[in-house]
Symmetry: C2
Subunit: 214 residues, 2 copies
Amino acid sequence: MDFNGKKMDERLKKQLEFSLEIDKEKNVFRQTHLSGLGRNENDAEHAWHMAVMAYVLREYSNDEVDIARVMLMCLIHDIVEIDAGDTYAYDEEGLKTQKEREERAKERIFSLLPEDQKRDLATLFEEFEDGETPESKFAHAMDNLQPLILNHSNGGSDWREHGVTSDKVYGRQKMTAAGSQRLYDEVTGPIIRENIEKGNIELSGADYDPDECI
Amino acid sequence: MDFNGKKMDERLKKQLEFSLEIDKEKNVFRQTHLSGLGRNENDAEHAWHMAVMAYVLREYSNDEVDIARVMLMCLIHDIVEIDAGDTYAYDEEGLKTQKEREERAKERIFSLLPEDQKRDLATLFEEFEDGETPESKFAHAMDNLQPLILNHSNGGSDWREHGVTSDKVYGRQKMTAAGSQRLYDEVTGPIIRENIEKGNIELSGADYDPDECI
Protein backbone atom coordinates (compact mmCIF):
# COMPACT_ATOMS: atom_id res chain seq x y z
CA MET A 1 0.00 0.00 0.00
CA ASP A 2 1.17 3.44 -0.86
CA PHE A 3 0.71 5.87 1.99
CA ASN A 4 2.19 8.75 0.02
CA GLY A 5 5.43 7.71 1.65
CA LYS A 6 7.62 10.48 0.40
CA LYS A 7 6.09 12.97 2.81
CA MET A 8 5.02 10.67 5.60
CA ASP A 9 6.85 10.36 8.85
CA GLU A 10 8.63 6.99 9.04
CA ARG A 11 7.13 6.06 12.41
CA LEU A 12 3.56 6.72 11.29
CA LYS A 13 4.18 4.90 8.03
CA LYS A 14 5.29 1.77 9.93
CA GLN A 15 2.25 1.94 12.20
CA LEU A 16 -0.06 2.15 9.19
CA GLU A 17 1.70 -0.73 7.45
CA PHE A 18 1.20 -2.88 10.54
CA SER A 19 -2.44 -1.75 10.71
CA LEU A 20 -3.00 -2.84 7.13
CA GLU A 21 -1.07 -6.11 7.52
CA ILE A 22 -3.20 -7.34 10.42
CA ASP A 23 -6.27 -7.10 8.19
CA LYS A 24 -5.15 -10.54 6.97
CA GLU A 25 -6.11 -12.07 10.32
CA LYS A 26 -9.71 -11.94 9.07
CA ASN A 27 -8.79 -14.61 6.53
CA VAL A 28 -7.48 -17.11 9.09
CA PHE A 29 -10.33 -19.50 9.79
CA ARG A 30 -10.77 -21.68 12.85
CA GLN A 31 -12.46 -25.03 13.40
CA THR A 32 -15.15 -23.41 15.56
CA HIS A 33 -18.46 -22.53 13.92
CA LEU A 34 -20.56 -19.47 14.69
CA SER A 35 -23.75 -19.94 16.70
CA GLY A 36 -26.82 -21.00 14.74
CA LEU A 37 -24.68 -23.66 13.03
CA GLY A 38 -23.04 -20.86 11.07
CA ARG A 39 -19.84 -20.69 9.05
CA ASN A 40 -16.36 -21.18 10.47
CA GLU A 41 -15.16 -18.37 12.68
CA ASN A 42 -12.09 -16.32 11.82
CA ASP A 43 -9.32 -15.25 14.17
CA ALA A 44 -10.14 -11.54 14.17
CA GLU A 45 -13.76 -11.99 15.24
CA HIS A 46 -12.71 -14.66 17.75
CA ALA A 47 -10.28 -12.15 19.29
CA TRP A 48 -13.00 -9.48 19.38
CA HIS A 49 -15.42 -11.87 21.08
CA MET A 50 -12.84 -12.91 23.69
CA ALA A 51 -12.01 -9.29 24.52
CA VAL A 52 -15.65 -8.32 25.08
CA MET A 53 -16.25 -11.47 27.14
CA ALA A 54 -13.15 -10.72 29.22
CA TYR A 55 -14.63 -7.34 30.10
CA VAL A 56 -18.10 -8.69 30.89
CA LEU A 57 -16.80 -11.65 32.93
CA ARG A 58 -13.81 -9.98 34.61
CA GLU A 59 -15.32 -10.34 38.10
CA TYR A 60 -14.73 -14.11 37.87
CA SER A 61 -10.96 -13.96 37.42
CA ASN A 62 -9.16 -15.91 40.15
CA ASP A 63 -6.86 -12.96 40.70
CA GLU A 64 -7.38 -9.27 40.25
CA VAL A 65 -6.43 -8.28 36.71
CA ASP A 66 -5.60 -5.17 34.71
CA ILE A 67 -8.55 -5.64 32.36
CA ALA A 68 -7.12 -3.33 29.69
CA ARG A 69 -4.06 -5.58 29.51
CA VAL A 70 -6.26 -8.70 29.31
CA MET A 71 -8.34 -7.18 26.50
CA LEU A 72 -5.28 -6.11 24.52
CA MET A 73 -3.78 -9.57 24.98
CA CYS A 74 -7.00 -11.11 23.65
CA LEU A 75 -6.95 -8.77 20.68
CA ILE A 76 -3.38 -9.50 19.59
CA HIS A 77 -2.85 -13.13 20.68
CA ASP A 78 -3.63 -14.62 17.25
CA ILE A 79 -1.87 -12.09 14.99
CA VAL A 80 0.97 -14.61 14.51
CA GLU A 81 -1.51 -16.93 12.82
CA ILE A 82 -1.50 -14.66 9.76
CA ASP A 83 1.72 -16.52 8.87
CA ALA A 84 1.54 -19.60 11.09
CA GLY A 85 -2.10 -20.50 10.42
CA ASP A 86 -4.59 -21.71 13.00
CA THR A 87 -3.55 -24.86 14.81
CA TYR A 88 -6.61 -26.75 16.00
CA ALA A 89 -6.44 -27.41 19.73
CA TYR A 90 -6.66 -31.17 19.13
CA ASP A 91 -4.31 -31.40 16.10
CA GLU A 92 -1.32 -33.27 17.58
CA GLU A 93 0.89 -33.08 14.48
CA GLY A 94 0.27 -29.38 14.03
CA LEU A 95 0.96 -28.68 17.68
CA LYS A 96 4.50 -30.07 17.36
CA THR A 97 5.58 -27.31 14.97
CA GLN A 98 3.27 -24.56 16.24
CA LYS A 99 5.83 -22.88 18.50
CA GLU A 100 8.48 -22.55 15.78
CA ARG A 101 6.00 -21.30 13.18
CA GLU A 102 4.61 -18.73 15.59
CA GLU A 103 8.06 -17.49 16.63
CA ARG A 104 8.96 -16.68 13.02
CA ALA A 105 5.59 -14.99 12.51
CA LYS A 106 6.00 -12.90 15.67
CA GLU A 107 9.36 -11.63 14.44
CA ARG A 108 8.13 -10.73 10.97
CA ILE A 109 4.78 -9.15 11.81
CA PHE A 110 5.65 -7.17 14.95
CA SER A 111 8.81 -5.92 13.18
CA LEU A 112 6.56 -3.90 10.89
CA LEU A 113 6.02 -1.59 13.89
CA PRO A 114 8.47 0.98 15.29
CA GLU A 115 10.96 -0.74 17.62
CA ASP A 116 9.32 0.36 20.89
CA GLN A 117 5.91 -0.87 19.80
CA LYS A 118 7.37 -4.10 18.46
CA ARG A 119 8.88 -4.78 21.89
CA ASP A 120 5.63 -3.81 23.61
CA LEU A 121 3.37 -6.13 21.60
CA ALA A 122 5.87 -9.00 21.33
CA THR A 123 6.27 -8.90 25.13
CA LEU A 124 2.50 -8.96 25.58
CA PHE A 125 2.22 -11.90 23.18
CA GLU A 126 4.96 -13.78 25.06
CA GLU A 127 3.20 -13.10 28.35
CA PHE A 128 0.06 -14.64 26.87
CA GLU A 129 2.00 -17.66 25.61
CA ASP A 130 3.72 -18.23 28.96
CA GLY A 131 0.38 -18.09 30.76
CA GLU A 132 1.87 -17.28 34.13
CA THR A 133 0.47 -13.86 35.02
CA PRO A 134 -3.13 -13.31 36.22
CA GLU A 135 -3.85 -11.42 32.99
CA SER A 136 -2.60 -14.17 30.71
CA LYS A 137 -4.40 -16.84 32.73
CA PHE A 138 -7.68 -15.00 32.39
CA ALA A 139 -7.08 -14.37 28.67
CA HIS A 140 -6.49 -18.12 28.22
CA ALA A 141 -9.73 -18.81 30.09
CA MET A 142 -11.53 -16.64 27.52
CA ASP A 143 -9.66 -18.33 24.66
CA ASN A 144 -11.17 -21.61 25.86
CA LEU A 145 -14.57 -20.45 27.04
CA GLN A 146 -15.50 -18.52 23.91
CA PRO A 147 -15.40 -21.49 21.49
CA LEU A 148 -16.89 -23.73 24.20
CA ILE A 149 -20.10 -21.71 24.41
CA LEU A 150 -20.35 -21.46 20.62
CA ASN A 151 -19.83 -25.19 20.22
CA HIS A 152 -22.29 -26.01 23.01
CA SER A 153 -24.89 -23.70 21.44
CA ASN A 154 -24.46 -25.73 18.24
CA GLY A 155 -25.18 -29.02 20.03
CA GLY A 156 -21.50 -29.94 20.30
CA SER A 157 -21.14 -30.37 16.55
CA ASP A 158 -17.47 -29.30 16.41
CA TRP A 159 -16.49 -32.01 18.90
CA ARG A 160 -18.50 -34.64 17.02
CA GLU A 161 -17.02 -33.63 13.67
CA HIS A 162 -13.48 -34.12 14.95
CA GLY A 163 -14.18 -37.12 17.19
CA VAL A 164 -12.68 -35.28 20.15
CA THR A 165 -12.22 -37.32 23.33
CA SER A 166 -12.88 -36.27 26.90
CA ASP A 167 -9.24 -36.45 28.02
CA LYS A 168 -8.30 -33.89 25.37
CA VAL A 169 -11.12 -31.55 26.32
CA TYR A 170 -10.36 -31.81 30.02
CA GLY A 171 -6.66 -31.32 29.30
CA ARG A 172 -7.22 -28.13 27.40
CA GLN A 173 -9.86 -26.74 29.72
CA LYS A 174 -7.56 -26.90 32.75
CA MET A 175 -6.36 -23.51 31.53
CA THR A 176 -9.84 -22.15 32.11
CA ALA A 177 -9.68 -23.18 35.77
CA ALA A 178 -6.27 -21.54 36.10
CA GLY A 179 -7.85 -18.25 35.04
CA SER A 180 -11.25 -18.65 36.63
CA GLN A 181 -12.16 -21.53 38.91
CA ARG A 182 -15.70 -20.20 39.13
CA LEU A 183 -16.26 -20.19 35.34
CA TYR A 184 -14.74 -23.63 35.16
CA ASP A 185 -16.96 -25.00 37.93
CA GLU A 186 -20.20 -23.36 36.81
CA VAL A 187 -19.90 -23.29 33.02
CA THR A 188 -17.07 -25.37 31.56
CA GLY A 189 -17.46 -28.46 33.76
CA PRO A 190 -21.24 -28.74 33.34
CA ILE A 191 -21.02 -28.16 29.57
CA ILE A 192 -18.33 -30.84 29.15
CA ARG A 193 -20.28 -33.35 31.26
CA GLU A 194 -23.48 -32.69 29.33
CA ASN A 195 -21.71 -33.20 26.02
CA ILE A 196 -20.09 -36.42 27.20
CA GLU A 197 -23.50 -37.67 28.33
CA LYS A 198 -25.02 -36.79 24.96
CA GLY A 199 -22.19 -38.55 23.14
CA ASN A 200 -20.84 -35.36 21.51
CA ILE A 201 -17.53 -35.80 23.30
CA GLU A 202 -16.19 -39.34 23.22
CA LEU A 203 -15.42 -40.71 26.67
CA SER A 204 -11.81 -41.82 26.97
CA GLY A 205 -10.09 -43.63 29.82
CA ALA A 206 -10.93 -43.24 33.47
CA ASP A 207 -10.72 -39.50 33.51
CA TYR A 208 -14.43 -38.91 33.78
CA ASP A 209 -16.18 -38.44 37.06
CA PRO A 210 -19.59 -36.79 36.65
CA ASP A 211 -19.31 -35.13 40.05
CA GLU A 212 -15.84 -33.79 39.59
CA CYS A 213 -15.03 -30.58 37.86
CA ILE A 214 -11.30 -30.87 37.23
CA MET B 1 -28.86 -21.74 24.66
CA ASP B 2 -29.14 -23.93 27.69
CA PHE B 3 -26.52 -23.08 30.27
CA ASN B 4 -27.79 -25.70 32.72
CA GLY B 5 -29.81 -22.85 34.10
CA LYS B 6 -31.31 -24.61 37.06
CA LYS B 7 -28.07 -24.50 38.99
CA MET B 8 -26.55 -21.42 37.51
CA ASP B 9 -26.36 -18.10 39.25
CA GLU B 10 -28.75 -15.62 37.56
CA ARG B 11 -26.08 -12.95 37.10
CA LEU B 12 -23.64 -15.30 35.41
CA LYS B 13 -26.42 -16.75 33.26
CA LYS B 14 -27.28 -13.26 31.96
CA GLN B 15 -23.64 -12.49 31.23
CA LEU B 16 -23.32 -15.71 29.23
CA GLU B 17 -26.53 -15.05 27.32
CA PHE B 18 -25.18 -11.64 26.34
CA SER B 19 -21.86 -13.23 25.37
CA LEU B 20 -23.64 -15.67 23.09
CA GLU B 21 -26.00 -13.05 21.63
CA ILE B 22 -23.19 -10.78 20.46
CA ASP B 23 -21.84 -13.63 18.33
CA LYS B 24 -24.46 -12.45 15.82
CA GLU B 25 -22.43 -9.31 15.16
CA LYS B 26 -20.19 -11.51 12.99
CA ASN B 27 -23.08 -11.83 10.54
CA VAL B 28 -23.57 -8.08 10.05
CA PHE B 29 -21.70 -7.18 6.89
CA ARG B 30 -20.44 -3.75 5.90
CA GLN B 31 -19.87 -2.11 2.53
CA THR B 32 -16.11 -2.07 3.08
CA HIS B 33 -14.05 -4.87 1.54
CA LEU B 34 -11.03 -6.53 3.10
CA SER B 35 -7.60 -5.70 1.68
CA GLY B 36 -6.52 -7.68 -1.36
CA LEU B 37 -9.95 -6.97 -2.91
CA GLY B 38 -11.41 -9.45 -0.44
CA ARG B 39 -14.93 -10.13 0.74
CA ASN B 40 -17.11 -7.66 2.61
CA GLU B 41 -16.01 -7.00 6.17
CA ASN B 42 -18.25 -7.77 9.13
CA ASP B 43 -18.87 -5.61 12.18
CA ALA B 44 -17.05 -7.81 14.68
CA GLU B 45 -13.78 -7.87 12.77
CA HIS B 46 -14.13 -4.15 11.99
CA ALA B 47 -14.45 -3.49 15.74
CA TRP B 48 -11.41 -5.66 16.45
CA HIS B 49 -9.36 -3.82 13.82
CA MET B 50 -10.38 -0.41 15.17
CA ALA B 51 -9.44 -1.36 18.73
CA VAL B 52 -5.96 -2.58 17.76
CA MET B 53 -5.41 0.51 15.60
CA ALA B 54 -6.53 2.73 18.49
CA TYR B 55 -3.84 1.20 20.66
CA VAL B 56 -1.10 1.44 18.02
CA LEU B 57 -1.99 5.02 16.99
CA ARG B 58 -2.94 6.43 20.41
CA GLU B 59 -0.02 8.89 20.43
CA TYR B 60 -1.80 10.87 17.67
CA SER B 61 -4.98 11.62 19.61
CA ASN B 62 -5.59 15.37 19.86
CA ASP B 63 -6.19 15.00 23.58
CA GLU B 64 -4.84 12.54 26.10
CA VAL B 65 -7.15 9.52 26.27
CA ASP B 66 -7.86 6.57 28.53
CA ILE B 67 -6.92 4.03 25.88
CA ALA B 68 -8.72 1.16 27.62
CA ARG B 69 -11.93 3.15 27.38
CA VAL B 70 -11.30 3.93 23.71
CA MET B 71 -10.64 0.26 22.95
CA LEU B 72 -13.75 -0.91 24.76
CA MET B 73 -15.79 1.74 22.95
CA CYS B 74 -14.43 0.48 19.63
CA LEU B 75 -15.28 -3.10 20.59
CA ILE B 76 -18.92 -2.43 21.53
CA HIS B 77 -19.89 0.49 19.26
CA ASP B 78 -21.55 -1.70 16.61
CA ILE B 79 -23.33 -4.25 18.83
CA VAL B 80 -26.63 -2.42 18.17
CA GLU B 81 -26.27 -3.33 14.49
CA ILE B 82 -27.18 -6.93 15.35
CA ASP B 83 -30.77 -5.65 15.27
CA ALA B 84 -30.43 -2.35 13.43
CA GLY B 85 -28.18 -3.55 10.60
CA ASP B 86 -25.25 -1.67 9.15
CA THR B 87 -26.12 1.75 7.75
CA TYR B 88 -23.65 2.72 5.04
CA ALA B 89 -22.06 6.07 5.80
CA TYR B 90 -23.37 7.50 2.54
CA ASP B 91 -26.89 5.97 2.61
CA GLU B 92 -29.06 9.07 3.15
CA GLU B 93 -32.37 7.21 3.48
CA GLY B 94 -30.95 4.71 5.96
CA LEU B 95 -29.36 7.46 8.02
CA LYS B 96 -32.79 9.04 8.67
CA THR B 97 -34.02 6.04 10.67
CA GLN B 98 -30.67 4.88 12.02
CA LYS B 99 -30.98 6.60 15.41
CA GLU B 100 -34.38 5.10 16.21
CA ARG B 101 -33.41 1.60 15.09
CA GLU B 102 -30.24 1.73 17.13
CA GLU B 103 -32.04 3.00 20.25
CA ARG B 104 -34.37 -0.02 20.24
CA ALA B 105 -31.45 -2.36 19.66
CA LYS B 106 -29.47 -0.80 22.50
CA GLU B 107 -32.35 -1.38 24.88
CA ARG B 108 -32.91 -5.00 23.86
CA ILE B 109 -29.33 -6.21 23.63
CA PHE B 110 -27.76 -4.49 26.63
CA SER B 111 -30.79 -5.54 28.72
CA LEU B 112 -29.56 -9.12 28.44
CA LEU B 113 -26.85 -8.11 30.92
CA PRO B 114 -27.24 -7.57 34.67
CA GLU B 115 -28.53 -4.05 35.35
CA ASP B 116 -25.18 -2.55 36.40
CA GLN B 117 -23.44 -3.85 33.29
CA LYS B 118 -26.31 -2.76 31.07
CA ARG B 119 -25.89 0.79 32.39
CA ASP B 120 -22.13 0.62 32.01
CA LEU B 121 -22.14 -0.46 28.36
CA ALA B 122 -25.16 1.61 27.31
CA THR B 123 -23.46 4.68 28.77
CA LEU B 124 -20.27 3.88 26.91
CA PHE B 125 -22.23 3.43 23.67
CA GLU B 126 -23.99 6.78 24.21
CA GLU B 127 -20.67 8.46 24.87
CA PHE B 128 -19.44 7.12 21.53
CA GLU B 129 -22.58 8.30 19.75
CA ASP B 130 -22.37 11.79 21.27
CA GLY B 131 -18.75 12.08 20.19
CA GLU B 132 -17.90 14.80 22.67
CA THR B 133 -15.24 13.27 24.91
CA PRO B 134 -11.61 12.81 23.85
CA GLU B 135 -12.12 9.02 23.98
CA SER B 136 -15.18 9.05 21.72
CA LYS B 137 -13.55 11.48 19.31
CA PHE B 138 -10.54 9.21 18.94
CA ALA B 139 -12.77 6.13 18.58
CA HIS B 140 -14.65 7.92 15.78
CA ALA B 141 -11.33 8.73 14.12
CA MET B 142 -10.57 4.99 14.10
CA ASP B 143 -14.08 4.20 12.84
CA ASN B 144 -13.28 6.40 9.83
CA LEU B 145 -9.60 5.65 9.34
CA GLN B 146 -9.91 1.85 9.41
CA PRO B 147 -12.19 1.53 6.34
CA LEU B 148 -10.31 4.39 4.64
CA ILE B 149 -7.01 2.49 4.63
CA LEU B 150 -8.72 -0.73 3.50
CA ASN B 151 -10.51 1.07 0.70
CA HIS B 152 -7.36 2.94 -0.35
CA SER B 153 -5.41 -0.33 -0.38
CA ASN B 154 -8.05 -1.66 -2.79
CA GLY B 155 -7.58 1.24 -5.20
CA GLY B 156 -10.64 3.10 -3.90
CA SER B 157 -13.03 0.47 -5.25
CA ASP B 158 -15.67 0.96 -2.50
CA TRP B 159 -15.98 4.65 -3.36
CA ARG B 160 -16.19 3.91 -7.09
CA GLU B 161 -18.81 1.19 -6.58
CA HIS B 162 -21.09 3.59 -4.70
CA GLY B 163 -20.33 6.73 -6.74
CA VAL B 164 -19.39 8.56 -3.56
CA THR B 165 -18.75 12.30 -3.94
CA SER B 166 -16.02 14.38 -2.33
CA ASP B 167 -18.37 16.51 -0.22
CA LYS B 168 -19.69 13.35 1.47
CA VAL B 169 -16.22 11.99 2.16
CA TYR B 170 -14.96 15.31 3.49
CA GLY B 171 -18.11 15.66 5.62
CA ARG B 172 -17.65 12.30 7.23
CA GLN B 173 -13.91 12.58 7.68
CA LYS B 174 -14.20 15.79 9.70
CA MET B 175 -14.71 13.42 12.62
CA THR B 176 -11.21 12.07 12.05
CA ALA B 177 -9.76 15.54 12.47
CA ALA B 178 -11.77 16.03 15.67
CA GLY B 179 -10.03 12.96 17.11
CA SER B 180 -6.64 13.35 15.50
CA GLN B 181 -5.64 16.38 13.46
CA ARG B 182 -2.30 14.74 12.73
CA LEU B 183 -3.84 11.57 11.27
CA TYR B 184 -6.24 13.71 9.27
CA ASP B 185 -3.46 15.91 7.90
CA GLU B 186 -0.96 13.15 7.16
CA VAL B 187 -3.17 10.21 6.19
CA THR B 188 -6.81 11.03 5.55
CA GLY B 189 -6.34 14.26 3.61
CA PRO B 190 -3.64 12.89 1.26
CA ILE B 191 -5.62 9.67 0.67
CA ILE B 192 -8.80 11.59 -0.19
CA ARG B 193 -6.94 13.95 -2.54
CA GLU B 194 -5.21 11.07 -4.29
CA ASN B 195 -8.52 9.27 -4.80
CA ILE B 196 -10.18 12.41 -6.14
CA GLU B 197 -7.29 12.88 -8.55
CA LYS B 198 -7.58 9.28 -9.72
CA GLY B 199 -11.33 9.62 -10.20
CA ASN B 200 -12.26 7.11 -7.48
CA ILE B 201 -14.08 9.80 -5.52
CA GLU B 202 -16.28 12.03 -7.65
CA LEU B 203 -15.52 15.72 -7.24
CA SER B 204 -18.58 17.68 -6.15
CA GLY B 205 -19.01 21.43 -5.81
CA ALA B 206 -16.31 23.84 -4.80
CA ASP B 207 -15.30 21.99 -1.65
CA TYR B 208 -12.02 20.72 -3.06
CA ASP B 209 -8.79 22.50 -2.57
CA PRO B 210 -5.80 20.25 -3.18
CA ASP B 211 -3.67 22.15 -0.67
CA GLU B 212 -6.23 22.18 2.11
CA CYS B 213 -6.74 19.37 4.54
CA ILE B 214 -10.14 20.18 6.04
